[in-house]
Each structure stands twice: as C-alpha cells, then as structure tokens.
C-alpha cells in the first residue's frame, strides 16, 4: 500500500473495502469469477487485461482472502482461482453497482435479466431496508451510537440549505 495511508482509517468499512477492491479491474475480475471463470487464461481472454496486472490483482485478492489459489489436480499447468465466502459476500455490492450502471446508462440493452433460478422471475432492485423490511431512503437514515440504538435520531431538520452548516450536522460516514 505504500503511501496510501488515508484509505485505511478506521470506523468506516468503506476504506477497507476500497483498499481490497478499489483498484482498476478488481471488480471486473470479480464479475468474471462470479461468471464461473477460474483460470488465469480465462480471465485474461475475457477481460483483455494486461497479464502483469491480472497477476497482480489475483495475487492481491488471494492475499486479502477474496479468492483462493489452488493448483489444478488433473492438469498441473493450471491453477484455479475460486471465490471464498468473503469473495461471495461481495455479490450484493457488485450487483448494486451493476443495477445502478444499468439504470443510468441510456439505451441500455437489456440482453439478460438476473432471475431467481427457481421461478425465473427477476430479482428486486437492491435497496436499503429497515429492521421490519420497509424500504428506506437517504433522508430516513441516521447514525446512532451502539448504546443508544432504539432511540430515534434527530437529523437537525436536514442541513441541506446553503450556508447553514456550522459543522457536520449528521455524520453519514
């Protein structure tokens, strides 16, 4: 990581997530892995990524526990890269990103729809939900200290009018 310290600050999971997955190609490699690819040459051909970069990213994902690297039993030239449970855990994030990309790409060609295998019906758009399942928007969210969980949060009547902010009204991150 060298000089990149600022990404590693604590109390927010985003820096760590970006540290692991924030480099160019990482998410596309992940997508390919979810696609069922697991050999070096497969990733290389599918993505058209430079070999040294691919090598670097795969090593990094292994190092960070997103993938495991195992020599192939039946053909010892080959190596298998497989998603770990931690890697599989990135599916909601990747899908949310994808859905966003699809929604806001004009003339997006809906070639294939992600569905529940069982009934072939499309999955829902990914949303943020309250404990009881209600869908929540940004304005309905707030931060609470662990000891005060269960107490309503006052967000200071929405700081979003110009020049009101004396300091951070609410802390979303």
């Amino acid at each position: 990581m060298g000089i990149r310290e600022p990404l590693s600050e604590m109390a927010c999971g985003l820096p760590h997530a970006l540290d692991v997955m924030g480099e160019r190609w990482s998410f596309l490699i992940l997508r390919a892995a979810f696609n069922g690819l697991y050999h070096f040459e497969e990733f290389s051909q599918e993505l058209g990524i430079a070999r040294n970069i691919l090598s670097n990213r795969l090593a990094r994902m292994v190092e960070n526990g997103v993938m495991v690297r195992t020599p192939c039993e039946t053909d010892r030239r080959k190596v298998e890269y497989r998603l770990t449970e931690k890697g599989l855990g990135l599916l909601p994030a990747m899908l949310a990103l994808r859905q966003w990309g699809e929604r806001y790409t004009e003339n997006f060609n809906t070639g294939l729809v992600l569905v529940d295998c069982r009934d072939g019906l499309p999955v829902q758009p990914i949303t943020i939900r309250a404990h009881d399942g209600r869908e929540l928007s940004w304005h309905e969210l707030g931060w609470q200290t662990p000891d005060k969980v269960g107490q309503p949060v006052d967000r200071g009547s929405e700081a979003h009018s110009a020049d009101k902010a004396p300091d951070k009204i609410e802390n979303f991150g």
Copy 2:
C-alpha cells in the same frame, strides 16, 4: 477515456458504473457528499486528497450527472457540489460495500450504527431478494432472456468442479 475501451462494453452495467465511480477517491468523495459536505475545501480537508485530483474527480462526477455544481448565492467565492438523483442512487451500492468492509475487517470498531431515524433501529444488511422478498444466494441466481422471464433456469448442476467447464456454463455477467 482514451485507451480504456474494454470497460465500456455493453450488456452489463458494471463497466459503466466503474467508468463513472471506479477511480481512486470517487467513492470516498461520494461518502463525504452523503455525509452532508458540499464545498471543495470541505472535501479537501475531510479526505486529505490532492487538490488537483479532487478537482478532477468532482468535474468528472458533474460531467457524469452524479453531482451538480452551483455557485453559492450568499458567498460567491464558494461553490456547492450536491448529489443528483443519480448520485443518491449510489447509496445502496456504497452501503453494500461498506457493510462488506465492516464485516470482514478484523477488530472493526463499531463506532456508529446506521439506523432508521424514525425508530433508531439498525438497517438490515443489504441482500439480494427474489420478487417475493426471499433472500437469494449466488447459487440460486441465473440469467434469463427477457422473453423467457418466468421460466425456471437450469444452471447445469453447478459447473464448479475442476475441469468440467467445456465453456461458460452460465453467464453471470
């Protein structure tokens, strides 16, 4: 984007999403914006990012419709950067990434909990849900052509045993 063509292939929203948000700092700037910051100097101080990079990223986000840039009425030295609806639409993706980062960061210090303002109860972990709300894992998902939506998908009995893959069994992306 010059030579970066491979990211812009169609039929998948991820390349577009990464094109817009995949550069270093973009997601942290987004987080800061969700935090209620909207001035150049605020972002600069909060993130410790180089000024030229910040300038570049903000311009890019404006260009891509994630933020709008408006000169401040009351102090014309200042400029306001605000999230558009498109920008707000990134909240599920950002939160999914954050939750993943939190979950897999050891000794993660849970300083603040994201809650529903109304009752102060924590939001759910972000998941993928079927049309009827059932939570779905990777193994239960498949791709279907639009005209065949509603027909169950056979994923070829899970390609994930070594050396079976003659070709892509199922196409997750």
